[in-house]
Symmetry: C2
DNA sequence: GCAGCACGAACTAATATGGTTCGTAGTACG
DNA sequence: CGTACTACGAACCATATTAGTTCGTGCTGC
């Protein structure tokens, strides 16, 4: 429980050092694998589409993602990482993982395993559909 | 096999005596239970929508069905029996059944049962979705 | 107080869907 | 032969639905 808050704090801290907010971090993580449509992102992140527009706006303004138009559907948009966004997430993501692991350095094996499990879940949450997310919780929130 | 042609012939004959074609008869049978949309009818009868427009046109011109607009969908149309259509099908349908049954009068029990089964299938074909129809066959065609 | 975050309602543009029209063609009937 | 019925596909119109954005509101943290 408390460790979950810790993880979250470390994550947010790490994000800030990279010059992004935690929400923008989640967005980048989701885009790590491939570009996504707005609707898709809204479903994955559990956001209303109007909220997502803003988040993508701000992240785009930071030069980390860009909107591309879907060739198959003229109204649809694909949100993709820019080179800068790719570079940032390629640093941010593994570094954050390392930091969280380091939290467990002082713990016994049992506790460390539990924490590893949580982080594993975080990773999965960023790659698979919403099915594994409790409602109202973002993929990086406390477990 | 041959009995199937017989059934078909009797059916067509009966239809003509009632002043309708066999296709129009099938249409009326399908509408016996309740009104249907054009798309739904096309699926049940295995007709392209342009073909169905014509069939409904002609049957409507004969005063047996009417188009009503679907209250829930302004582009959709429901095809329903008129009082005349209701009256006609209420005579035509059971009479045709009787005629077909009478065909079996000269037969042994086994043959008669087989024929009854065919007619039962015809009835079912008019009430359940297309699933039970072989592709390319109308509900009254030979089995 | 300003920037980020989130929401719902109203809106626009693009696409999907339900039916009709039109041109073509095969079949049956007088 | 001509007329009526059947059937099809392609083009078309009107309505529905969908993808995103904009706008107005409110909340949080610095």
């Amino acid at each position: 429980m408390q460790s979950a808050f810790l993880v979250n704090a470390v994550y947010t801290e790490s994000a800030r050092e990279h010059g992004i907010t935690s929400q923008q971090g989640v967005l980048l993580c989701v885009l790590m694998m491939r570009p996504r449509g707005m609707g898709e992102l809204g479903a994955m992140l559990g956001l209303a589409k109007s909220s997502l527009t803003g988040l993508v706006d701000r992240t785009e303004r930071n030069g980390l993602v860009q909107r591309e138009s879907d060739p198959d559907d003229q109204r649809a948009v694909r949100v993709a990482l820019t080179p800068r966004g790719r570079k940032l997430i390629d640093e941010f993501y593994p570094e954050t993982c390392r930091r969280v692991e380091r939290l467990a350095d002082g713990l016994g094996d049992a506790d460390r395993d539990a924490l590893a499990e949580v982080l594993g879940r975080v990773v999965r949450d960023n790659e698979v559909p919403v099915v594994f997310m409790e409602p109202g919780e973002g993929p990086f929130s406390k477990h």
